[in-house]
Amino acid sequence: MSYLIGEKLTGGYGGPDIIRECTVSVDQGEIVVVVGPNGAGKSTAMKALLGMLDLREGRVLLDGQDISALSPQQRVAKGMAFVPQNQNVFVTMTVEENLEMGAYLRRDDITETMEQVFELFPALKTKRTQIAAELSGGQRQQVAVGRALMTKPTVLMLDEPTAGVSPIVMDELFDRIIEIKRTGIAILMVEQNARQALNIADRGFVLVTGENRFTDTGEALLANEEVRKSFLGG
């Protein structure tokens, strides 16, 4: 059984159901990518895992424990970290303060974790006293990921981390995500850049109109004729 499982999730934002019986899972030390066309409910599925929408059916299991009743904050405290797609940094605060806020729930010494983040993203170390609004798009994404890592999470969820960054920055960010995976963290990612994301993914879920269409290893999905044609542009 996987470390984090969203089982047969059905729900939306109060209106019609956006995801239907959608199942997503991720294990520790694994990168799982959720891809699909626009409006497929990819981000919604991820928000459902975090408890940000009302589920009508289904449940979320973390390490075998049913966490469906917990609030997003409680899930964060349980080790789930989330990097939203937009507005994912505190723009008026410095890089260092952003990281401190990420570790808000922790009462122990955070300097070691902060050093680890700076090792992962050396550019941030030199800009630690600069406010986030002054950083480039790619560096902001680094701050956003770094902020999420400050809780020492067991699961890292990223909502389109490469949206709006250049291909070079995207490759760089994916390299870092692989490095994070090697530390044993479970990584779940929603991506528009499906081909590149599946390249680094251990497994992938293809969602269409809120339902699971394909589930396989990243490699197999890339090789699948139908997936290639419909979702990867040939």
């Binding site: 997003p72 939203p84 507005q87 723009v91 605060m93 806020m101 808000y104 902020r147 809780t151």
Partner: protein
């Protein structure tokens, strides 16, 4: 030589009637505006009850001052109100938290729109306004004791031999010193402490703050305590400097809001800047420059009129004018706060 004397006289004149009063009035407005801006930054609504919170805080101070005086407690050359201030701050903070728990928290739970909060705060304003009048009455109260002047106009004239006098009231110096201390303490709190940073984070990006595990109710609680403390301090300093009249605090709401918006709402530094801008504009626009021009103009030139832009009755027009100008030209304010 005669021209130098004229120049000095003009300087003393402008210091006495514009510079010093504007600095102390500006400090009072700044303290009020910082409170408004903090509540706006965290709770995301313009709190119309802030002026009445100042009145309530000042009233509490007066009652405690009277009680101290009846027991024979005083602080020598300083006003007894300074001793009463910490207790009044405690009472006003409790009131602010009670109001939040009983009124504003209801709208937070229901995720009401900001305009609903604003209207609720207008209700709170009327309620507090009534409460203050019931408790202390509507009369003007002077509760200043201790030494009134640090420099008296007559003494200054004798000392310098100038024909213009310079008076410096103790309350003016107290206002400035206490405002500086309060503001420094606030900035230290916001920049250096865990809770202060959490408040800034919450103001910056509420969703991300929640995702980081910041407890919104705690942030709101601390915000009300700080806003009530600043309101009490501002209210007492204003009351000491002039006098306590419940209605005055209602009128002060306009220049305070103007100050917060001019500086950039949600921006504490901007609120301070705005406070001084509004105060200087108000006092400069309503000051009669006749004598000042007489000193500076060559020969025996004397302006026909008072050389006064507006009579003091119209001083609120200045705040209004600044407010409209800023909203038209730069709605985010000088330091680029939020747009209302």
């Amino acid at each position: 030589m005669e021209y130098t004397t004229d120049l000095l006289n003009a300087l003393v004149l402008i210091s006495n009637y514009v510079l010093i009063p504007a600095i102390s009035y500006g400090s009072q407005l700044a303290l009020g505006a910082v409170g408004v801006t903090l509540v706006f930054g965290i709770l995301r609504f313009a709190n119309f009850a802030h002026g009445e919170m100042m009145a309530f805080g000042c009233m509490a101070t007066i009652f405690i001052t009277w009680w101290f005086q009846s027991m024979g407690i005083s602080s020598g050359v300083f006003p007894t109100a300074l001793l009463a201030l910490p207790f009044a701050i405690l009472i006003t903070a409790l009131l602010a938290v009670a109001i939040d728990r009983s009124i504003f928290s209801f709208y937070r739970i229901h995720k009401s729109r900001p305009v609903t909060f604003v209207v609720a705060s207008v209700g709170v304003m009327f309620m507090l306004n009534g409460l203050v009048r019931i408790l202390i009455g509507t009369n003007e109260i002077i509760f200043r004791d201790g030494q009134k002047f640090l420099i008296k106009a007559g003494v200054f004239k004798k000392m310098t031999g100038l024909s213009e006098g310079l008076a410096l009231k103790q309350t003016q110096v107290l206002t400035f010193v206490l405002a500086v201390i309060a503001v420094l303490a606030l900035f230290w709190f916001l920049q250096r402490t865990r809770t202060g940073k959490a408040m800034r984070a919450f103001s910056d990006n509420e969703d991300l703050a929640l995702l980081s595990g910041i407890n919104p109710e705690r942030v709101v609680l601390v915000t009300w305590i700080i806003a009530a403390s600043l309101a009490t301090l501002a209210g007492v300093l204003y009351g000491l400097d002039k006098s306590f009249k419940p209605m005055v605090y209602f009128h002060l709401l306009l220049p305070i809001f103007a100050a917060a918006i001019v500086g950039g709402i949600g921006h504490p530094l901007g609120a301070i800047l705005g406070g001084y801008i509004v105060a200087f504009s108000e006092i400069t626009a309503t000051y009669a420059f006749k004598k000042f021009i007489k000193y500076l103009a060559p020969g025996d030139f004397v302006p026909d009129g008072l050389a006064q832009l507006l009579t003091t009755e119209y001083k609120f027009a200045v705040s209004f004018f600044i407010l409209v100008l800023v909203l038209l030209v730069r709605p985010t304010g000088i330091l680029r706060g939020r747009v209302l």
